[in-house]
Amino acid sequence: MKTLLYILQKEFRQILRNRTILPMIVVVPLIQLLVLVYAATFELKKIEMTVVDRDLSPASRGMVTLFNGIPFFRVDGNVAHEKAGEELLLKGQTDVVLVIPAGFEKSLMREDQAQVQLLIDAIDGNTAQLIYTYCNSILFNYNKQIIANWKGLPDFNPPTEVVVTENYWFNPELDYKWFMAPGILSILVTIIGMFLSGMNLVREKEYGTIEQLNVTPVKKYQFILGKLIPFWLIALFDLALGLGIARILFDLPLTGSLPLLFGFAGVYLISALGLGLFISTITDTQQQVMFVTFFFMMLFILMGGIFTPVESMPQWAQLINHLNPISYFMRIMRMIILKGSGFSDLLEEFISLVILGVLFLSLAIWRYRKTA
């Protein structure tokens, strides 16, 4: 026990003297939250629309006016021909082209139906979906209008209609930042923990200091814990710092219990750091550690549900995610912060994280060899 304390004292001395790591511990969470949370957003603020109106009738103009009335639609003049519209789409100067064919009004009057065409730039599938949904609901409103006008019915909803009113729980204003911040914070503590601990251990190999330490009676678990505990504390400190920044900057609600959140973070970090340390026991240089750790980080982060819900991933991907500590932690963060979930709601995640933590840490201690 005393030996462990001396090892910790040594590790902290070295960390506090490191001119790169120390500022990074404070700057990284700040920058990540400021830049990523604002930048990585799905909210559509502006849709550029080009109209190809080949009918030029009161009916077609009425439809365009409806689009014009929506604040985030910028209906950018008419072009005469579909070709011209397509060209704009190709050049990326417009997001969506609305084509109203000639004879639109006539067809509407005579046959009670008419067709319009939407050409949507789908480079970004998510955005395209959103544009389509918006356009659809506007066209739905237009339909209601013409039914009212032409059929001469008074402007009230038919009795058979079901009215839907939405109420978004846990994030009533659908603030995307509230969704992103817990995700970014999970990544942040993972980076701090996994990279720093792994790099630190392998540095002893690179500098040859491990050779001197290996002939001392220091036990394997003492050495590994000496590498784990400092970065575990730093990562938890960064989580607190990050939560504070998020609270001030985007009013992130902290619905659930903070001690519970930090308890979970502590358990999670043991698995993340354990994996980082395990990687460093099977590599020889900092470069190798960087490379291998980066591979796992990318895999874990993108599969862990930062942008896309894990539930909509294919079955095999969900199976892999059982081994992905970030996936559990990201869910835990969102559930505690936004939903206020309690321990019993997260029992499954807790058990999984404990298993992963014990697994990775044991692997690291087992694989660390004092003898070649």
């Binding site: 030996t3 001396y6 040594k10 001395r13 070295q14 500098y207 001197q212 002939v215 009676p217 070649a372």
Partner: protein, 320 residues
Amino acid sequence: MISIRNISKTYGETEALHDITLEINRNELFGLIGPDGAGKTSLMRILMTLLLPDSGSASLDGCDVVKEFRKIRKMVGYMPGRFSLYQDLTVEENLHFFATVFGTTVEENYELVKDIYSHIEPFGTRRAGKLSGGMKQKLALSCALIHKPKILVLDEPTTGVDAVSRKEFWEMLKNLQKKEITILVSTPYMDEANLCDRVALMQKGTLLDVDSPGRIIQKFGKRVLAARSENMFRLINDLRTFPKAASVYAFGQFAHFTSPDDDVEVNELENFLLKNGHQAVEVEEIEPGIEDVFMGLMQNSLQQSVAAGNTNNKPSKKQT
């Protein structure tokens, strides 16, 4: 104190140690002498429980290096060839750290390291990385001694250290020996062999000879002629063409010459050189040094291995 029995170690294709058997006595200052790649470090790492031998066994003070490695780690002090202390910790912090991980304190064993540590004590708050080469060695030695080991193992402690520091360092080792510490030290410098009680001459994973430096020289029993002239490069080449030359090597300002049957006189060699147009020729008979012995032994073992290689190659030569 240290007994090594039939140790072999192979890395992939290369055999680092071949069937080494060696006995080192209590309180001895023992030197492992040999060029780079002779297997000195591998042997030391096996003794330090850092490397497992492929076959054979070794024990330190009765403790087996494989089975009782925990006991060994408590009683040995090891100074690896590469500076292995924490460069970002200060001199004092390094010493305290290594004392504490061995469960002791600097104060408790200060007496043992005092002579060495006092040289660097004025720089106690300086980072270890900022020390000069000689001071680094002293700090490393202090750290290896701070837990009062029975056996001290030093892997090329004087490589890359200036001549004055080297001399100082060996004096320190002599003093430590008086404090009843068994010392095993390796070095590529053959002049340092004379400072050891006994040495083992190593080459390519085998022991060429193990004895006291004096006895090794005595056993050599060959006459060595030292020659010099204005043009040393040409002198060595010419000497090698001398009909009765066994070995010719450059040693400092002289070329050392031996003949197979020790029947070449000073005049004979002098005349040969003068005939070859050398100026300012100087030839004298000298006492052989440990270097001469080592070169001689090395050449013998090379010739043996070449001879063995030739017989092996014969069948394939016929095919071509």
